[in-house]
């Protein structure tokens, strides 16, 4: 969504939106992480500057082994940050409401839905996306799960695949890949509209049985 665009699609004057936003500024003392620029702005009573400072707040997050120092709006989700600002478009936007799993990434080793994760909440965390799964980065050797998805034809259109693979790797790491039934249950958060499910399960079983380091 564009800046200042309302849910009904209408556009709002950025100035008036900022003033509405500034009604909150009396609570500033409670801020645990106040950008220095904002503090200065408060002192000088510069409301517009304050609003600007809050619209872009600093975020430090390690993504695929690279430390990123960013400035973002608080409402930016991890998914939008990856795709729109960092050009990591491997992570897909399916439903955008946590129902399909296409946006699955790992945050500090745990698989999560990037669409329901505010990027700000990952401050100081380590994020791994499909681009960071292969050893040696995107140009390196494929991860065993990526190989297995190719071998078992674990996709048709491929849109859900990055999410499926990130989830599949986590599924094995968590110890929930001990039988096809258990795999199906623990992969239920990843929807595949093409219906490649049986091949996806085969790929996961293969990697699990191979004992490959995931």
């Amino acid at each position: 969504m564009k800046d200042h665009e309302n849910n009904d699609g209408s556009l709002e004057n950025p100035g008036s939106s900022r003033r509405g936003f500034l009604k909150q500024s009396s609570a500033l003392a409670a801020l645990a992480m106040t950008p220095p620029a904002a503090l200065t702005a408060v002192e000088k009573g510069l409301d517009e500057k304050l609003a600007t400072a809050f619209e872009q707040i600093p975020l430090k997050v390690e993504i695929n082994g690279m430390m990123q120092q960013l400035k973002i709006e608080p409402r930016v989700t991890l998914l939008d940050l990856l795709r729109e600002q960092l050009n990591l478009t491997g992570t897909k936007k399916g439903c955008d409401y946590g129902q399909c799993g296409a946006c699955t990434v790992h945050v500090d080793g745990q698989r999560v839905n990037a669409c329901l994760t505010l990027a700000m909440t990952t401050d100081g965390c380590k994020v791994t996306t499909i681009e960071g799964l292969a050893e040696g980065g995107p140009t390196g050797k494929l991860h065993p799960m990526q190989d297995a998805f190719i071998k078992h034809d674990g996709f048709q259109c491929g849109y859900c695949t990055p999410g499926q693979i990130m989830s599949a790797v986590a599924c094995i790491r968590e110890g929930h890949a001990n039988s096809p039934d258990e795999i199906r249950e623990y992969m239920s958060g990843n929807i595949c509209r093409c219906g490649a499910y049986s091949n996806i399960v085969d790929a996961i079983v293969d990697v699990k049985q191979s004992g490959a380091r995931v």
Partner: protein
């Protein structure tokens, strides 16, 4: 999503101080429901207080049972050794909810605070007394297949969506909260409320109160517990009906029992009358059927959900059979 101010706090005091300044501020924990609601325009807070860095995620033994921090993730609770050993019903209920990804994000406190999944509540073009008091209820006379059969009002027939809460109400949990006026404890059964004339209120939390932890008293139910969830697909769907059953057996006699149902009411629905009836009785299908009838005494369908009037008692019987291993 609307613009909002983002504040991160690292202790409960700062969290409570940050939220009492105005009523358009909300706590952000796992965000799996709140961010969803904000994207859809159902909720539009002006400020979010990120509480995820407050150290409230421990699960520890107490003199009387177990204390679970409000920010413990659903996965961490479900897979915790002490929970699996002493409160298997809670593990089962948690694992029946959402997806592995969402359980990795969602917290105990957030799970309790989640809003109904009623489609009229979610659709901002439709009337909903919960979302916008006074506008009416779209579900009464509308598509109400997922809706309540117990404890509903003529203002709202939405159901509480949580699985975890069914286990917690059955297991006599207590909710510990802290707020501007200090700390207090709320019996789990009194945490959520029925819709009545004010369906906009899901629970009895006061403004500015923060859920700190949930206490579970030790019990003798670990050997005979079952969470049955009936839903439209095998996994990752909200309950049409769910039943949490936990019993203490002496041979074939029911010494003590806890029963609760999900997918039927605005709050996790404890079946106290059926429990009273079952105590001291033999574990037979006939007794279970009688208990189920008692539990359904005040049940009422709204058209599309009439099937729940049959599915609910059948589910109670099935859960009891599985829990007592008499299936």
């Amino acid at each position: 999503m609307n613009q909002f101010q983002y504040v991160r706090v690292t202790n409960p005091k700062a969290a409570i101080a940050a939220i009492t300044k105005d009523n358009t501020t909300m706590f952000l924990a796992g965000g799996t429901n709140l961010i969803d609601l904000m994207k859809r325009g159902v909720t539009a807070p002006e400020k979010l207080v990120d509480i995820t860095r407050i150290p409230l995620n421990t699960i520890e033994k107490t003199a009387t049972g177990l204390r679970i921090g409000a920010l413990a993730k659903n996965t961490a609770v479900a897979e915790h050794e002490l929970v699996m050993k002493n409160f298997p019903l809670l593990s089962m209920a948690l694992n029946a909810g959402a997806s592995p990804q969402l359980r990795n994000m969602a917290t105990v406190g957030g799970n309790m605070m989640q809003r109904t999944r009623c489609s009229y509540f979610y659709d901002t073009a439709m009337p909903c007394n919960k979302r916008e008091p006074g506008t009416g209820c779209g579900a009464i006379g509308g598509y109400n297949r997922m809706h309540a059969i117990l404890g509903a009002s003529n203002k709202c027939i939405a159901v509480h969506p949580s699985d975890m809460c069914i286990a917690l109400v059955a297991l006599d949990a207590t909710v510990n909260v802290a707020g501007p006026k200090g700390e207090r404890s709320i019996p789990f059964g009194e945490f959520h409320r029925l819709p009545g004339d004010t369906p906009q209120k899901d629970n009895t939390l006061q403004p500015g109160e923060l859920i700190m932890s949930v206490d579970l008293p030790m019990n003798g139910f670990a050997g005979n517990s079952h969470y049955l969830k009936v839903r439209d697909r095998a996994s990752y769907a909200f309950a049409l009906i769910s039943v949490g059953a936990a019993l203490k057996m002496s041979g074939n006699t029911i010494q003590d029992v806890r029963l609760a149902m999900g997918g039927v009411a605005h709050k996790p629905w404890r079946l106290t009358e059926a429990e009273k009836f079952l105590k001291g009785k033999p574990a037979t299908e006939a007794t279970f059927k009688q208990a189920a009838q008692i539990a359904m005494k005040s049940a009422k369908g709204y058209g599309e959900n009439d099937f729940k009037l049959t599915m609910a008692p059948n589910s109670i019987v099935e859960a009891l059979k599985t829990a007592t291993k008499t299936a």
